[in-house]
Amino acid sequence: MTEAVTVRGLRRAYGDRVVIRSLDLHIERGEFVVLLGESGCGKTTLLRALAGLDPIDGGRIDGPPRPAVVFQEHRLLPWDPLWRNVSLGLSEKDSRQLAGAALAEVGLGDRLDDWPRNLSGGQAQRVALARALVQQPQLLLLDEPFAALDALTRIKMQSLVKALVRKHQPGVLLVTHDVDEAITLGDRALVMREGAIARTYAISAAANGHRSHPEAIELRDRLLADLGVGADA
């Protein structure tokens, strides 16, 4: 396996307030890492630093200069039809074909010329996923991409993401608040606290497979406890 990204001693501060202090992180290609943590623990700051959106104040990030990102909002350009949205960063001549193939992968292969406003929330998020994957990214950053979706759509999206990650093998960092989502999708769960990674859990395929598997139940309790929610909550 090759590495997707390696972070050493990352530090990020806004004025006096240190948001990330000496953080280390390593993600392999094909590995699905889930990042959990209470609001304000620095999850989003870390993701933005990895995405190259914010400068860093110390340490180093060895990874692709331009990872693909899916945000909580779909961020589709309302003035471009779907295929133009998906091919936004592509310079190849056959970008329409590439966009079409990416859209087909997310089940929207017949909607190339449709406008974003005609999509449901889940469909729009699938287009955003296609736009990220069409770049063949080495590292895929997911910033709570399912948070705004209804429960059923979220479950479908999760299995779609899992299947596509397995196929394209990027390293994935998923930021989420949802412990069950973390257990279902992740190979590894990181709990972040006060700007550093406080805990790391490996997640077995068995725990991925079913939420009532004993390992899944145990992990859920431990993650909830780490996040400051009692095991009986």
Partner: protein, 276 residues
Amino acid sequence: MSDLAIAAPVRAKRLPRQPRFAVRRLLPWLVPVLLLLAWEALARFGKIPPYILPAPTKVMLTGVALVQDGTLIPDIGISLLRAASGFAIGGAIGFGLGVAVGFSRTAGLLLDRTVLMLRAIPFLAVLPLVIVWLGIGEGAKIFLVAFGVTFPIYMNTVLGIRQVDPKLVELGKVTGLSTWMLIRRIILPGALPSILNGVRYALATAWLALVVAETIAASSGIGFLAMDAREFLRTDVIVLVIVIYAAIGVAADSVARLLERRLLAWHPNYAGETRR
């Protein structure tokens, strides 16, 4: 003239009780048609003297006669050319300044105050000065039109660029777009609704500037035609010119509206059938 500037972007909700299609189409025309008929009748039966207001049919016939003797069409052409040149010059200046100020904080600090100070001048107030500078030739009229057009285009361009969703700009950066591509694919399309709104407003301003300039100082164009007719109490020609001004104004607005519908097909407010 004022209704040209008003955009109607919001699609009206379907009301529970709607009058039938034919009624809906025809009823708004009832009052104008009745007014026209009343005017015609009053003029015909001598209740209004022709030098005050000639009958509509008389105005029409005058129009036909002026087309036939070859004076009307060239004058309309000259007026349109002035409006178009002034609009092109003022639009280019307004758009250029607007793009600079919209993108660059420095340009904004350097220019915005100055432009807003110039905008505080009612553009018709500069007319006497313009006549002193440029006489009553083509330059004066084109200058006045350009002056009036610059500001609405400038303001709406700046506003449009500043209103572009920063989250989309961020997406563009994450996707690795170059600055030029960021402008072309995200910022200008995002600013376009506002810019087109400015274009519509500017068209109305341009037309108003032209009417004033031609009425006060001109030796050709349809404004001159009207002033010339005043000398001979040819009220029919004056009314004809007013009608032509109105018709061209409406036509210009329709073109702007068509442009909106073509360029903003993606926009939910302009999609499909737009209600006036």
